[in-house]
C-alpha cells in the first residue's frame, strides 16, 4: 500500500465519520463543525487527485465563508432539538431500511468488480510544473465560456429572488434613512428649540439633573 493510498483511506474515513456525526449530533453547532471537518477532508481528497485549485477553493469558500455564515445563523436560531429528535427517531427504522437497500444496490453496481483499475485505467500523473489554476482558467473562459455566462445569470437570479423573498417594509420597524440624514443642513433643520414654561418641581424629587420634560432635546424626541 503506497503512501498516497494510505492518505486516501485516512481522509476518506474521516469524511465518512464526520458526515455520520453531522446527522446524529444533538447540538446543531456541533453538527456544523463536523460538516466543516467533512469539507476539509474532502478538500484533502481533491488534493490527492491533483485538483489543487478546487481543493483550496473548497477550504477558502466553503469552510472560510459559507460555513462561518451558517454557524452564525445556527447560533441565532432557536432550534427545538427535542422535537427534531422525536421526528428523527420516529422515521429512523424506515430510513435505515431504505438506506440499507440503496447501499447494497450501489455496492453491487459500483463495487470494485465494476470499478476497479482494470475497467478504468489509472490516469497518468501530470508533469512537473503543471499549473492547475492556469488550465482551469483557460478552460473556463475559452471552452466553457457559454456555461460560465449561464452560471453568472444563475447568480443574478439568486440575488433577485433573495431580495424579493426577504426585503419588506414593515410599518412599525425603526430604521435610518441615510439619504435624508446627509441632506440635513446646519441650523433649524438639525435642532428645534421648543419653548416651554418651567414647571414647579415636586418636593419629593431630588434637584439633581433636569427633570423629564424640561429638556428641549427630550421634547424634540417625543415630538418626532
Amino acid at each position: 500500500m503506497g503512501f498516497e493510498k494510505f492518505l486516501f483511506y485516512v481522509f476518506a474515513a474521516i469524511a465518512v465519520f464526520a458526515a455520520g456525526m453531522v446527522v446524529t449530533r444533538r447540538n446543531p453547532v456541533h453538527a456544523v463543525l463536523y460538516l466543516v471537518l467533512a469539507f476539509v477532508s474532502s478538500a484533502a481528497l481533491w488534493l490527492l487527485i491533483e485538483a489543487e485549485f478546487l481543493g483550496i477553493v473548497l477550504v477558502l469558500v466553503y469552510v472560510g465563508a459559507v460555513m462561518v455564515l451558517f454557524l452564525f445563523v445556527v447560533m441565532m436560531l432557536d432550534i427545538e432539538v427535542a422535537a427534531l429528535r422525536a421526528q428523527f427517531i420516529r422515521h429512523l427504522p424506515l430510513g435505515l431500511v431504505i438506506a440499507a437497500v440503496m447501499i447494497i444496490n450501489m455496492v453491487l453496481v459500483v463495487g470494485p468488480w465494476n470499478f476497479g483499475l482494470d475497467s478504468f485505467a489509472k490516469p497518468v500523473p501530470q508533469p512537473e510544473g503543471y499549473s492547475n489554476t492556469t488550465v482551469l482558467g483557460l478552460d473556463l473562459f475559452r471552452t466553457y465560456l457559454y456555461q460560465f455566462e449561464i452560471a453568472a445569470v444563475v447568480l443574478l437570479v439568486a440575488i433577485v429572488a433573495a431580495i424579493r423573498l426577504t426585503l419588506r417594509r414593515r410599518a412599525n420597524t425603526k430604521h435610518q434613512e441615510p439619504s435624508e440624514q446627509v441632506r440635513v443642513r446646519k441650523g433649524p433643520e438639525r435642532i428645534r428649540l421648543v419653548a416651554m414654561r418651567a414647571e414647579a418641581v415636586p418636593a419629593s424629587v431630588p434637584r439633581i439633573g433636569s427633570g423629564p420634560g424640561a429638556d428641549p432635546n427630550d421634547a424634540k424626541e417625543q415630538g418626532e
Partner: protein
C-alpha cells in the same frame, strides 16, 4: 475553441430574452407605483422580438455554437417558439390577478423571463453541463415564483417542499451525470453517444448513471413515483405562477428527456425504454384515479398533468421517429391546454376571491358564456374528445406504440383515459348544469379575453387541421 462573434447570432433568441429581463430589472427601479404597467409592455415587446429572432435564426440546417455546448436545430426552433408563445399567454392572463394582489412588480416579470431563458437554454443544450445549468436557472426562478406571495403560508410551504424535493432530484441527476462522465469520458451528448457505441452497452456503470439521470428527468416531469411535490405546489402557489409552471417547464422537461435519451444515450434504448414503461403506466394509473377524488381544481389539474406525462413517455419509449414526433406533438399540445385551463381559472378569480375549488366553476355557463365555452373546449381536449387537438395527440402516441407491437400498453392507456374522462367531463357538467354559487359577473380584462379566445380556438383549429404542426414535429427527428 475560442469565442467567435458568429456564435452570438446563433444564440440571438436567448440574448433577446436576457437583455429584456435585464432592462426590466433596471427600469423597474425608476418607476413609480402607477407606472408599473411599463414593465408589462417592455416584457411583451421583448417576447415578440425573441419570437421574431427565433424565426430569423431558424432553418432546416443544424448549427452549433460554443464548441458544441449549444445546438440550434428544427426541434429547438419549434420548441422555443412554443415556449415564448406560452409565456406571452402567461403574462396576458396574469396581469389583472397580480395587480389585484399587489404582486404586479418588476420581479415577477424578471423571474418569469429568466425561467424562460432557462427553458430555452435547456431546449438548446448539447452537453450535460449546459443542460444542468439551464435546469438550475429554471428551478431557482420557479422556487422564488412559487413563494411569490410572501404573506401566504401555503405558498411558503409549497415553495419549501418544491425546493427540498427539487434539490434531491437535481442531486440525483448530477450523480447520474457524473457516472456517465466516468463511464464515457465526455459531457457532450455527441461524445457520450459515440463512446457508448464504441464500448458497447453492457457497462454496468453506464446503466447505473442512466438510472439516476432518469430519476432526475422523472422528478422534473412529475412522473409517478416522483410526483409528490406537484399537487402541493400547484395548490399553494399563486394561480398565474401555476399557469406558467405547468406549461413551459413541461415543454423543457420534454426537451431535456429528448436531448439526453435520444441524442446522448440512443444506444441504451432497451434499458431506458423498460424504465419509461413502468413510469408511464404508473403515472397514468395514479394520475387519473387520484384526480377523481380531488375537490380542489388546482390539485385535480396537477394529477391530470401526471397522467399526461405518462402519454409523453409513451411516445419516447416507442423508440421510433414516429414516436418521438408524437411525443413532441403531445408536449406542445399539453402546454397549450394547461395554459388555457389555468388561464380561465386566473380570469374568474378576482380581488379577495380565489377560484380554487371545483364548486367555484358551477354555473359559469350562466355567468360568462364565452369563457365557459373556452373552458369546455380545453376540458374536452384534455379528455381526448374529437375534434379537439387532445384527441389527435393521444391518437398519434397510441399509433406509435401500437406500431412497435406494444398493444397491451395502448389498451392500458385507453382504459385509463376513459377513467380520466370522468373528471374532465364533471367540470363541464358543473359549468353548464349546476346552479352558480356566486353570481358576480367575471371581471376579466379585454386582452385576457382575446388571449383565451385565441387559445381555445387554437385547440379546436389544431385538432381539425393538425398536419402543419405535425409536419414541424416530424421534421425535428
Amino acid at each position: 475553441m475560442p469565442f467567435e462573434a458568429a456564435y452570438l447570432y446563433t444564440i440571438l433568441p436567448e440574448l433577446v430574452i436576457l437583455i429584456t429581463a435585464s432592462v426590466v430589472l433596471v427600469v423597474d427601479l425608476y418607476l413609480r407605483d402607477d407606472q408599473k404597467g411599463l414593465n408589462h409592455s417592455l416584457t411583451l415587446v421583448g417576447l415578440v422580438l425573441a419570437l421574431a429572432s427565433v424565426g430569423l435564426v431558424g432553418g432546416d440546417q443544424t448549427a452549433t455554437a460554443f464548441g458544441g455546448a449549444f445546438v440550434r436545430d428544427p426541434m429547438s426552433d419549434l420548441l422555443k417558439g412554443v415556449v415564448i408563445v406560452l409565456t406571452l399567454f402567461t403574462f396576458v392572463y396574469s396581469s389583472n390577478y397580480m395587480r389585484d394582489r399587489d404582486m404586479w412588480v418588476g420581479e415577477y416579470h424578471v423571474l418569469v423571463l429568466f425561467s424562460l431563458l432557462g427553458v430555452m437554454i435547456m431546449i438548446s443544450a448539447n452537453d450535460f453541463l449546459s443542460m444542468y445549468l439551464g435546469l438550475e436557472l429554471l428551478a431557482l426562478c420557479l422556487y422564488a415564483l412559487v413563494a411569490f406571495d410572501r404573506d401566504s403560508k401555503a405558498g411558503s410551504e409549497a415553495a419549501m417542499k418544491y425546493f427540498v424535493l427539487g434539490s434531491i432530484g437535481t442531486g440525483m441527476l448530477l450523480y447520474g451525470i457524473s457516472m456517465l462522465y466516468g463511464a464515457t469520458g465526455g459531457i457532450g451528448f455527441g461524445d457520450v453517444a459515440a463512446a457508448v457505441a464504441a464500448t458497447g452497452t453492457d457497462d454496468k456503470v453506464l446503466v447505473f448513471g442512466l438510472v439516476f439521470v432518469l430519476i432526475g428527468i422523472a422528478f422534473k416531469f412529475g412522473a409517478v413515483p416522483f410526483h409528490m411535490w406537484m399537487p402541493d405546489v400547484y395548490q399553494g402557489a399563486p394561480a398565474p405562477v401555476v399557469l406558467f409552471l405547468s406549461s413551459a417547464p413541461k415543454v423543457a422537461a420534454f426537451a431535456m428527456a429528448a436531448r439526453i435519451l435520444l441524442d446522448a444515450l440512443p444506444g441504451l434504448l432497451a434499458d431506458w425504454g423498460d424504465i419509461l414503461i413502468i413510469l408511464s403506466v404508473l403515472s397514468m394509473a395514479v394520475g387519473n384515479v387520484v384526480a377523481i377524488a380531488q375537490t380542489n381544481i388546482k390539485r385535480m389539474l396537477a394529477y391530470s398533468t401526471v397522467s399526461h406525462v405518462g402519454f409523453i413517455f409513451f411516445g419516447l419509449l416507442a423508440g421510433t421517429e414516429q414516436g418521438y414526433a408524437a411525443a413532441m406533438f403531445y408536449a406542445v399540445v399539453y402546454g397549450l391546454m394547461a395554459v388555457g385551463a389555468f388561464g380561465v381559472l386566473v380570469m374568474i378569480s378576482h380581488k379577495g376571491f380565489e377560484a380554487e375549488n371545483l364548486d367555484d366553476l358551477k354555473g359559469l355557463g350562466d355567468r360568462d358564456p364565452w369563457l365557459a365555452a373556452m373552458m369546455t373546449l380545453v376540458m374536452f381536449s384534455m379528455a381526448g374528445v374529437p375534434p379537439m387537438v387532445g384527441f389527435m395527440a393521444k391518437l398519434l402516441v397510441l399509433e406509435a406504440v401500437v406500431n412497435v407491437g406494444l398493444i397491451w400498453l395502448a389498451i392500458v392507456a385507453v382504459v385509463f383515459s376513459i377513467i380520466g374522462a370522468f373528471y374532465y367531463l364533471r367540470v363541464v357538467k358543473m359549468i353548464y348544469f349546476d346552479k352558480p354559487e356566486v353570481m358576480d359577473p367575471v371581471t376579466a380584462s379585454g386582452s385576457a379575453r382575446i388571449a383565451v379566445s385565441v387559445n381555445g380556438l387554437a385547440i379546436l383549429f389544431l385538432g381539425m387541421f393538425p398536419a402543419g404542426l405535425l409536419a414541424l414535429c416530424e421534421a425535428a427527428f
